[in-house]
């Protein structure tokens, strides 16, 4: 538990010395509230990404997600969480210096020329769960886990990024917004408008990502929020008071159509390459009732990670194919990140 205190990073550095510390080489992407530059940390020659947040645009000061990102990334240091190297401000801007990560998991999932071995999937899931575990033991919910936000370092390490929606669990009576997490990865309690959810929402997202890694296509692609409910329950059964006590007390609960829960054989057919242990883990991560869903600790201790084949070493994992112009490709992947 002590890791978060192991190193306190400089909160901000005076502007004059900034030019000496980092170089801003070229712009690689622009979003509504930030511009991303590629740069180098002068002292170590390490590649970095500088996220410059536009401040003038907002009347109420800084954008909320920028504050969140700084607030939580400063507290987390873990091999599977993106590193916030520095924060500084120039004239009117706030700049976040982040680790440079050239690829994300979504790119790999979509590249059909890459074959995923079951050991590769295990390795990515393991690294994701380790990162999530670190967030959760520091009482931080990520709330936007999806393949697009799981970035891959050149050495194969997977790092959780984009803490723009993250928050710490507040007072017990405080309401949380249920309008979080990208729709396809949104847990059923969020779809029902729950305001007092737990880390289980992140575990659900990881479970859906696990399924997506095996299927190579989104598992529950809802067209809109209502359709998402339908798609989710068609795949996993409609929750009832029996399997999820008190579900009907959630604000936006409606039973819609009642689908039966899938039998194990049905799931076996759906994930034909999955072993029985993999299915066990998937089932326990995608329990409809959040109190029955496993937490990150028990997921990491699951037998799935112990059975053969062993998780691939990160540096042996499949990587994005180099194309003729690698520089152009870098642009593409960085732009994909939410700015």
């Amino acid at each position: 538990m002590a890791t978060e205190l192991q190193e306190s990073r400089p909160r901000s550095t005076p502007t004059s010395s900034i030019q000496l510390k980092y170089s801003k080489d070229r712009k690689v992407g622009e979003g509504t509230y930030a511009v991303v530059y590629l740069g180098v940390q002068i002292s170590t020659k390490r590649k970095i990404a500088i996220k410059e947040i536009k401040t003038g645009l907002f009347k109420d000061g800084l954008d909320m997600s920028a504050i969140r990102e700084v607030k939580y990334l400063q507290e987390l240091k873990h091999p599977n969480v993106i590193e916030l190297i520095d924060v500084f401000s120039t004239s009117n801007n706030l700049n976040l210096v982040l680790e440079f990560l050239p690829c994300d998991l979504e790119v790999l999932i979509k590249d059909t020329s890459i074959v995923f071995k079951s050991a590769d999937i295990k390795s990515w899931l393991l690294m994701t769960l380790r990162g999530v575990h670190h967030c959760h033991r520091n009482f931080i919910l990520h709330r936007d886990l999806k393949p697009n936000n799981l970035l891959l370092a050149p050495d194969g390490q997977l790092k959780i990024a984009d803490f723009g929606l993250a928050r710490s669990l507040g007072n017990p009576n405080e309401d949380l917004s249920s309008n979080v997490v990208t729709r396809w990865y949104r847990a059923p309690e969020l779809l029902f408008g729950a305001k007092h959810y737990t880390g289980a929402v992140d575990i659900w997202s990881v479970g859906i990502i696990f399924a997506e890694l095996m299927l190579r296509t989104p598992y529950l692609p809802g067209k809109d929020d209502i359709d998402q409910l339908d798609v989710t329950f068609r795949a996993l059964g409609t929750p009832t008071e029996q399997i999820w006590p008190n579900v009907s007390n959630l604000p936006q609960y409606n039973a819609l159509r009642v689908y039966p829960p899938p039998s194990r054989q049905e799931l076996r057919n759906r994930f034909s390459a999955a072993t029985e242990k993999a299915l066990d883990l998937l089932i326990s991560m995608t329990q409809l009732d959040p109190s029955r869903r496993c937490d990150s600790t028990s997921a990491l201790l699951h037998d799935y990670f112990l059975e053969a084949p062993r998780a691939t070493n990160p540096n042996e994992l499949p990587q994005k194919r180099e194309k003729k112009k690698p520089s152009n490709e870098d642009d593409g992947t960085i732009k994909r990140r939410k700015l």
């Binding site: 190193e7 017990p172 007390n249 609960y253 201790l301 998780a311 070493n313």
Partner: protein, 347 residues
């Protein structure tokens, strides 16, 4: 056993009298029960509805359709012996590696031959058959195991054969490519030689030029040979099962490092222990009566009973755990041991 003498009857089904001459597509089948030849359409007609007696006069053996097969040998005596061999071989399926020495293996083969002879020549046939059946029952597991082992071996051999085949093809491909390249190179060289000879005017230098050209060519040839060898050895490594075995061993060695789910980064020894707090829903609904010897916070108790909170997965324990974790979070750190000064703040 009926052996038909003349050729005409050989081509005619004795049941339906269909002639091979008139319907050239007809096939004859025999059943190992009595080895009477019957044409395919008769088999279909008579035995489709289940077991029936052999249509030959004075035979009367009950035959089943699935046992009918095409006759391979003209001589039915041989056909019959082979069937018996197959049948006995499936039961007595040990191979030489199962015996300690050759003598015992030979003894085993001798018993097999004896059984086959007895079955084939009708000498104590029923008794031998009964013995065979008894042996099968007694050694059922052994036979099955042996079967599995054999089939695995065959599969391995098959894989090896396939890999070798692929290797051969790859080698051929490379050789062909080289040949083509060489041909082109030769042509080019010749052209160059002609050009040089045409442009130079002294006759003495002509021979020198040709010599140079030849030296060049031979140099290239040796280089080529080396290249080819290298490629071949590379390919062999790629396909050689022994090489792949090595790879596998390497992987195994790597897996001897124990797996740590948390990479050693996990707090197993909490600084506190939590007093018992109910987690079951029906106990939570009546929480005041279940925490008499535990921490009592009326405000949180009220939240713990809220159905909306319960439905969203919210539990009282997590609140207490968090409060205690945060209270004790700095206690494991010894600042002197850390390199940089710590900034201790509550989350």
């Amino acid at each position: 056993m009926v052996i038909l003498e003349d050729d005409r009857s050989q081509d005619m089904c004795p049941i339906c009298k269909t002639d091979k001459y008139l319907s050239p597509n007809m096939n004859f089948l025999v059943n190992p029960e009595c080895y009477h030849r019957i044409c395919e359409s008769c088999v279909d007609r008579i035995f489709s509805l289940g077991p029936a007696p052999c249509p030959y006069q004075n035979c009367g053996k009950i035959l089943r359709k699935n046992k009918f097969k095409q006759q391979i040998f003209d001589d039915l005596a041989i056909e019959r012996e082979i069937d018996i061999r197959k049948k006995v071989g499936a039961i007595y399926n040990k191979t030489e590696e199962d015996f300690e020495d050759l003598k015992e293996y030979n003894k085993y083969l001798e018993t097999i031959e004896e059984i086959i002879f007895k079955l084939n020549n009708g000498e104590d046939r029923e008794k031998t058959e009964a013995e065979l059946y008894k042996y099968e029952q007694e050694h059922k597991l052994e036979i099955l195991e042996k079967n599995i082992r054999e089939s695995q071996k065959n599969a391995d051999a098959h894989k090896y054969k396939e890999a070798m085949e692929r290797l051969k093809q790859e080698k051929l491909k490379v050789e062909k490519q080289h040949e083509l390249e060489d041909l082109e190179y030769q042509k080019q060289q010749q052209q160059e030689l002609l050009d040089v000879l045409a442009s130079s005017n002294s006759t003495a230098s002509a021979q020198e030029i040709i010599k140079k050209q030849r030296a060049n060519a031979s140099k290239r040839a040796t280089l080529r040979k080396e290249q080819l060898q290298q490629i071949n050895s590379q390919l062999e490594n790629q396909f050689n099962p022994i090489y792949q075995q090595k790879l596998l061993e390497q992987q195994l060695a790597a897996s001897k490092v124990p797996f740590t789910p948390f990479q050693g980064d996990r707090d197993l020894h909490k600084q506190y222990s939590l007093l018992p707090i109910p987690t079951e829903i029906d106990k939570l609904m009546d929480i005041e009566h279940h925490i008499s010897d535990s921490y009592n916070d009326p405000y949180l108790n009220k939240l713990a009973k809220s159905k909306e909170y319960l439905g969203a997965g919210w539990r009282l324990t997590t609140v207490y755990e968090r409060a205690l974790d945060e209270a004790f979070i700095g206690l494991g750190c010894i600042i002197d041991q850390e390199k940089r000064p710590q900034k201790v703040d509550a989350v």
